[in-house]
Symmetry: C2
Subunit: 217 residues, 2 copies
């Protein structure tokens, strides 16, 4: 049974063990295939034990959602070295695309799926309005700062930085989500001579976007 070993852990670590198992299943097979029961089987506990540590599946989804933001923060941390804000903005865009395409399951959990945010609304808070989305805001702020710095260098004149940062994010998110969900790939199959494939379309759109931003000086 392997009962002995597992009992040796300090209590409370089980919450982390569940999350680790969920994460590993999630990264291997995706979110849909990561059922409570499979997590339980992997850590050799009964399914109901999970409910002692997580309120429901959206709770686990939110925990994985946070893991995704941790991973993304790592990738972005290197970019603070880039002095010139517009160069940094470009690097952020490339990093964002790379993260989205290489960790598409995480990307989905972070920016597409409703389930993690559902947890914020229904389970996590006493607030009637639903809880705030810290991870999202904490990712948006560096973008906003960079946009503001760009403006000090003469870029994006007369633009409201918040709105402009949102526009930049939207464009990036749009490209990435259309790509990782296969919509661009499928459209390229039409004999319209549009793009070779989805990834190539994404790269072209990104280059075009950067050029466009670079001309706003």
């Amino acid at each position: 049974m392997g009962i002995k070993e597992r009992k040796e852990r300090h209590k409370g670590d089980l919450k982390q063990l569940i999350l680790d198992s969920a994460k590993s299943l999630f990264m291997k097979y995706g979110y849909e295939a990561t059922s409570i029961r499979k997590i339980a089987a992997e850590i050799e506990f009964s399914p109901t034990t999970i409910y002692l540590y997580y309120k429901d599946k959206s709770d686990i989804a939110y925990a994985l959602h946070r893991e995704g933001f941790k991973l993304m923060a790592e990738k972005f941390s290197a970019l603070s070295n880039v002095e010139h804000p517009f160069e940094r903005l470009k690097a952020m865009g490339r990093t964002y695309i790379q993260f989205a395409t290489e960790n598409s399951d995480f990307y989905e959990l972070m920016f597409i799926m409703k389930e993690p945010l559902d947890f914020l609304d229904t389970s996590c808070s006493d607030n009637q309005e639903g809880e705030e989305w810290k991870e999202g805001a904490n990712t948006f702020i560096p973008l906003l700062k960079t946009v503001e710095e760009c403006q000090q260098y003469g870029y994006f004149k007369g633009q409201d930085p918040k709105t402009f940062a949102l526009l930049v994010w939207s464009a990036m998110h749009g490209m990435c989500s259309l790509t990782i969900h296969g919509h661009l790939d499928h459209m390229c199959r039409e004999k319209l001579d549009l793009f070779e494939n989805g990834k190539q379309a994404l790269d072209a759109a990104y280059s075009s976007f950067i050029e466009l931003l670079g001309n706003m000086k």
Copy 2:
């Protein structure tokens, strides 16, 4: 049982009846809640009957997906009257946003969910590569044409029209999907004084986008 009435229909109409029922359930309760069994219950047939007319659930998802594009085409049909291509482009953007926010379930099925496109890949075709996505391409082409017409009026100089059209679509899709999934709403709950709410953020980003495009002349 109401058996008599239902038998009065011509055979073959059942496929349409299933779709109508699926559509009505889908529009009322969303995709997740629209189960094969509930569709069957509503039309007073057994669940397995559905499988005589649709291969699996992704087949139904794709049929609804097509219904969504039909609905969208209706909304867009009026815009061919707009003479000036840039005015038309702006109107297309507004219409796109309106469609996405007022028919968010359809929007999701058309541009976000993987299930309808899964059907193209796995069930619908003998092609190894997966079938082409006609609906997407047919929606993209009018945008592409409008972008090309704009270029004849001096807009978007030097831009590759296909890439630029994709960029425009990506930006619109990004805004809309972040909005209808509640990400913008949740971010606005942070006390960062960003935007009032998601919808207001969307409108601001769109205005900013249009202004940006208008300056590319």
